[in-house]
Every structure is written in structure tokens, then in C-alpha cells.
């Protein structure tokens, strides 16, 4: 079932939590709402679920207006960050809850409930825990049970609020891959909220980047990572070096350097911010033909596949981060305190908007 969000506004007192949000989620897609805490992503998810009401705007499920529909009638499955399992019920009863509370007419028979609950528990690979109580389970197990419980009512839409937020790093990683596989199996339209860009980039079909109640960018993980639409998205997705300068006739002038950039040929001496990812910072022993800053190696972190280097520019003492492959690092044989040249590539500029 597709979801359409039209002109949603939400205020909490004077705080504008959501500011004219428009979003379409096509049937079967897995969409991530990504943003820092307080950006309104959870509020938006709760409005989609019907747990919260928007001040203005409407929510359409499969083209029909669901704005005034109660959460009970929206046919959504909701998974909470802190699981919200019923502590006094066994795992089995937790999953069966949604079936048992149905009116007598539509309630499945006891045998059918058994069959379906066990099928779901097998799906989340926890059938052997059916008789346990939630406090006896680990965090990852609890969240899988919460997911099975949400799926038991055969929802048309699955909504997950920071589903892995309360889990430790290792379990998070396993669970998000598992969620991706599960989604590929079930093809249920899903929206999940996260503040973890890595999680969004790895799991989602599409990412909606939000900031301060607005949508900054909507796109595939590739798009938002490679072509961030705004300085905010650039900074939020991954590490980035930020330079302040001016753009003039197709070149970015950063202090003493004039760097080539795409477009902006007509721009005339406008203040701008330039962004360069750490892996687009070339570190050189000798000054090449391209413009480069001279810098000193401050700190080297050689753990993992990439070597992270913190450099200090010599002209204004600002810090630049670079990432090198291990081979390149060995080739350069850098030592702490050495003087080098750094050459930014793939510079992306955003003109300063006067505000």
C-alpha cells in the first residue's frame, strides 16, 4: 500500500516540529527518515501511524484519505525503539495479542492463531522462545519479537521508530541486514526512522533526510551520498571538510587557492562554503601542478581499511581530515609532524544564502 503525505504541519506550542512536509512512499518500498534528534522524523512517523494528529495536511493510504482514521483502523504495524512488549505475557501471547483482541467475528480460531504465531516466530527465527517472558530475552531478541507482533495483524504498512537504537553495535549490524532480507521477502511498504546515517545508507531503498521540521533531500542512498542537495545533507552524511571562500567565474577561491568546480560560471564573487570528503583530499610529498595547501601531519589513525589523517593547514592553522588507502599510506610513509601538501578534489560548493 502506498503512502502519500500532503502538506503536513505540526507545532508543539511555539516549536514548529514539522513544516509543510510532502512525501510519497510507493508500495513495497523501504524508506528511511534520517535526521538528527529533534528534526521531526519520529513525529512524522507517529502521524503516519495515527498515534499523533497533524495540525494541518493529510495522509493518504493507497489514495484514500486516512487523516482522521484511528490508529486501530489504519492497519499499520508499529515497532517502538524500546520494544514496548507486554511484560506479563509470554512471547507467544505477545505475538498473538493482535489476533486475540479482534472482534469475535473476525477472530481466527485457536488452532489458526497457533499456526500463525508459530509461523511468525519462525520467520523471526525465535520459535524456541515462545514460552519465555520478554525480560528474559536480549535486546535483539525483544526487537525481533516486537516485529513479529506487529506483523501478526498483517499490516499494510510497517513503521519502525529507531528500531535498533537501543541495541549495541554488533547486534545493530546483524539486525539491520536481517531487516533488509525480511523486507525483500515480504515486500511490505515500510518506513523507518533513524539518526544513524550508516544504517539508512545500508538498509533503505530511499532516504528522506530531515532537518528542523523540513525535508532536505529525498533520494536513493547513492544519490544522497554522492550528490547532497544542501550543506546540511553534506555534513550529516559522513565526514566532510568545510572551507569558507568565494566563488567567481567557475572557480572556488579558498584563501590562496583557486579550485576548479562544476558550474557557477556566471557567479560573480559570491561568498560560499566548499565541501570535500576526506577521501577526496590528496596528500602529496611534493607540490604538484594542481593548487594545494601546505600542511603538517597532526595525527595518524591507521586502524581499519582506511588510514585517517588529521592535518593542520599552515596558512590559517585550521584542521583538515584526509582518508588514504593503506597502499597509498605505505607509499607516502608519513610520520607525525611531517610537512606535506594537500590537494582537494571533487569540491562541491554551496553559495551562502543571505539570511
Amino acid at each position: 500500500m502506498s503512502i502519500a503525505i500532503r502538506n503536513i504541519h505540526k507545532r508543539f506550542g511555539k516549536f514548529h516540529a514539522l513544516n509543510n512536509i510532502n512525501l510519497d512512499v510507493p508500495t513495497g518500498e523501504l524508506v528511511a527518515l534520517l535526521g538528527p534528534s529533534g528534526c521531526g522524523k519520529t513525529t512524522l512517523l507517529r502521524i503516519i501511524a495515527g498515534l499523533e494528529a497533524a495540525d494541518e495536511g493529510s495522509i493518504l493510504f493507497h489514495g484514500s484519505d486516512a487523516t482522521s482514521r484511528d490508529v486501530r483502523e489504519r492497519e499499520v504495524g508499529f515497532v517502538f525503539q524500546h520494544y514496548a512488549l507486554f511484560r506479563h505475557m509470554t512471547v507467544f501471547e505477545n505475538v498473538a495479542f493482535g489476533l486475540r483482541v479482534r472482534p469475535r467475528k473476525t477472530r481466527p480460531s485457536e488452532a489458526e492463531i497457533h499456526r500463525r504465531v508459530h509461523a511468525l516466530l519462525e520467520l523471526v527465527q525465535l520459535d524456541w522462545l515462545a514460552g519465555r517472558y520478554p525480560p528474559q530475552l536480549s535486546g535483539g531478541q525483544r526487537q525481533r519479537i516486537a516485529l513479529a507482533r506487529a506483523l501478526a495483524v498483517e499490516p499494510k504498512v510497517l513503521l519502525l521508530d529507531e528500531p535498533f537504537g537501543a541495541l549495541d553495535a554488533k547486534v545493530r549490524k546483524d539486525l539491520r541486514r536481517w531487516l533488509r532480507r525480511l523486507h525483500d521477502e515480504l515486500h511490505i511498504t515500510s518506513v523507518f526512522v533513524t539518526h544513524d546515517q550508516e544504517e539508512a545508507l545500508e538498509v533503505a531503498d530511499r532516504i528522506v533526510v530531515m532537518n528542523q521540521g523540513n525535508i532536505e533531500q529525498i533520494g536513493s542512498p547513492q544519490e544522497v551520498y554522492d550528490k547532497p542537495a544542501s550543506p546540511f545533507v553534506y555534513k550529516f552524511l559522513g565526514n566532510v571538510n568545510q572551507f569558507h571562500g568565494r566563488v567567481h567565474a567557475g572557480k572556488a577561491h579558498i584563501d590562496t587557492l583557486a579550485l576548479d568546480i562544476d558550474g557557477h560560471h556566471e557567479t560573480d564573487n559570491t561568498p560560499a562554503h566548499a565541501f570535500v570528503r576526506p577521501h577526496d583530499i590528496e596528500v602529496l610529498r611534493e607540490r604538484g601542478t594542481q593548487p594545494a595547501f601546505s600542511a603538517v601531519v597532526n595525527y595518524i589513525n591507521a586502524i581499519g581499511p582506511l588510514v585517517r589523517i588529521e592535518l593542520q593547514r599552515q596558512d590559517n592553522q585550521s584542521i583538515v581530515e584526509a582518508e588514504l588507502t593503506r597502499e597509498r599510506f605505505r607509499e607516502l610513509a608519513l610520520q607525525q609532524g611531517e610537512a606535506v601538501y594537500i590537494q582537494p578534489r571533487n569540491v562541491r560548493v554551496f553559495l551562502d544564502v543571505p539570511n
Partner: protein
């Protein structure tokens, strides 16, 4: 609760356990003090009551404690106490709910008001209740035309016992309600449960042990209540005379053994009832105890 008792037994019997390191030392000292304290304050006076009763022969004892007037008073005391505790369980839960879930002007005042029956001298409460519920009182005069008499009837006893028991349920349920995640209610709603089902299947099981505790405390308090009841009850033998009043009456007539005999019966019944409520609580918390491992 039973698990605590078991732990205690372990500590007493298992030497290894007793030598286990604790951050706060002094198990022997504190246990000794506890037992001494309980003995001086509770066990010895109660034991003395039992001892005093043995001055009577069994036949004498039996006639004293089963006199028709005394039997009627048991019925009234325990009946009215149970009804009062029951009313408190329902309305105390409601009060706790309102205090936890909503904010409204004067909330702190209402919160403080709940404790008032604790602080008020019971005689004052009794006189106030009587004045209001008597046939010419504010509320009494409104009820009179419908043929409802509160003061000087068993109904008045229920009112007084409800009054003094109110704080117990509110104060035991309130913290548990505060701990209850609102998310579980939202989860229940998103799974299609209606409001009643959410209350019945999600909220009530979570607060049930606390509610039972509050009920038991309110009941125990009501059984022993004297001051507030004697004013509003009218104290008509066979109708609105409570057992504590009979005990006082016997004391005033220097019938000490008779008074203690009735007291012993009250003690035993109260103990059995409280034990039963505790048992119920233990049984219902067993599921949670299992899951709390």
C-alpha cells in the same frame, strides 16, 4: 514476598552465602535488631493477648466470641471494611490515574489532599463526616428525600471506612502507574485493541499486584478503625456496632479477658484474610517473578 523469604532462609542456612561480601555490612546486627524490634512492638503484645485469653475456659471463650451481638459486629466490621477497601480499590485507582496521567491546575493540591485522611485525627474525621451525612447535614439532607440514611446506619460505617482507607490504594498504585510505559498502550492500540481491551489486558495486569497491596492495606486499616466510625455509626447493637467498639465497651466494664478474647478472634480473622490476599498477590506476581530472573 516469597522469594525474599527464600533468600533469607538461604542466608540463614547456607554458610557460604552468609559470608558473602556485602557493600553494607552488619547483617547479624540488623537482623537481631529487626527481631527484637518486632518482638517488642508486635509479637509480645499480641502474645500477651493470646495469653490473657487462656484465663477463660474454652466454653467461656466460645460463648463470649459467639454472642449474637458480637457475631453481628464481626459481620459489620469485616463486611464494611471489605466494601470500603473495594470502593477504594476502584476510586483510588481512578484518582491515581488522573494524578499520573493528566496535568491540571491545582494538581499538587489534589495530590496533597489524598494524604489528609492519614493526618487527620480520626475523631475529627468522624465528627465531620457525621455532621455532613446526618439527616440535617449538607449531603445527608439531599439524600434524605430518597430514603437514603447514611449517618447512624451500616452505610455510615462504610463511608467512614472508605474515607480512612483512600490514601493506601492511591499511594501504592501511583508509582507503578508512573513507571508504566505509555508506549505499551500505543502498541496495544496499533495492534487493534480497543480502550477496554488495552486497560484489561495491558494496564491492569501491570498494576494488579500494587492494587492488591493497596486493597489489603486499606482493608487492614479499616478493620482496626475505631475513632471515625463510632461517631457516624450510631452504635446500635446488632445493627451498627463495630467489633472494636465492643472491645472498648468490655474494657470499660473491666471485662479484660472478654475483650482480649474478641480481640484474638479479630486478629486471627484479619491474619487469615491478609494471608489470603498476600497469597493472591504472590500467585499473581509469580508470573512476573518468573520473568524478573
Amino acid at each position: 514476598m516469597a522469594p525474599d523469604y527464600r533468600t533469607l532462609m538461604h542466608l540463614l542456612t547456607d554458610e557460604k552465602m552468609a559470608k558473602r561480601h556485602h557493600v553494607l555490612p552488619g547483617f547479624n546486627l540488623s537482623l537481631g535488631y529487626t527481631i527484637l524490634y518486632l518482638s517488642l512492638i508486635v509479637l509480645i503484645p499480641l502474645g500477651a493477648a493470646f495469653l490473657k485469653t487462656t484465663e477463660l475456659s474454652f466454653a467461656e471463650f466460645w460463648t463470649t466470641v459467639t454472642a449474637p451481638r458480637v457475631l453481628a459486629s464481626y459481620k459489620l466490621t469485616f463486611g464494611a471494611s471489605l466494601i470500603g477497601a473495594f470502593i477504594n480499590a476502584i476510586f483510588g485507582l481512578l484518582t491515581a490515574w488522573v494524578l499520573v496521567r493528566y496535568t491540571f491546575p491545582g494538581k499538587r493540591l489534589v495530590d496533597a489532599l489524598v494524604d489528609l485522611p492519614f493526618a487527620l485525627p480520626t475523631a475529627v474525621a468522624g465528627i465531620a463526616l457525621t455532621a455532613i451525612y446526618a439527616g440535617n447535614g449538607w449531603i445527608g439532607s439531599l439524600l434524605e428525600p430518597y430514603g437514603i440514611k447514611v449517618a447512624f446506619t451500616p452505610l455510615g460505617v462504610v463511608v467512614a471506612l472508605t474515607f480512612i482507607g483512600l490514601p493506601f490504594v492511591v499511594r501504592t498504585v501511583q508509582p507503578v502507574l508512573e513507571d508504566l510505559e505509555a508506549e505499551t498502550e500505543e502498541a496495544a492500540a496499533s495492534l487493534g485493541a480497543n480502550r477496554w481491551q488495552t486497560f484489561r489486558k495491558v494496564i491492569l495486569p501491570a498494576i494488579w499486584p500494587a492494587l492488591l497491596t493497596g486493597f489489603a492495606l486499606a482493608f487492614a486499616r479499616a478493620v482496626g478503625e475505631y475513632g471515625s466510625v463510632i461517631f457516624i455509626a450510631g452504635n446500635m447493637p446488632m445493627v451498627s456496632e463495630i467489633t472494636p467498639l465492643i472491645i472498648i465497651t468490655k474494657l470499660e466494664q473491666y471485662d479484660y479477658t472478654g475483650a482480649t478474647a474478641i480481640a484474638v478472634v479479630m486478629l486471627v480473622i484479619s491474619f487469615i484474610l491478609l494471608l489470603a490476599i498476600n497469597g493472591l498477590q504472590w500467585w499473581s506476581s509469580q508470573r512476573n517473578a518468573k520473568s524478573a530472573e
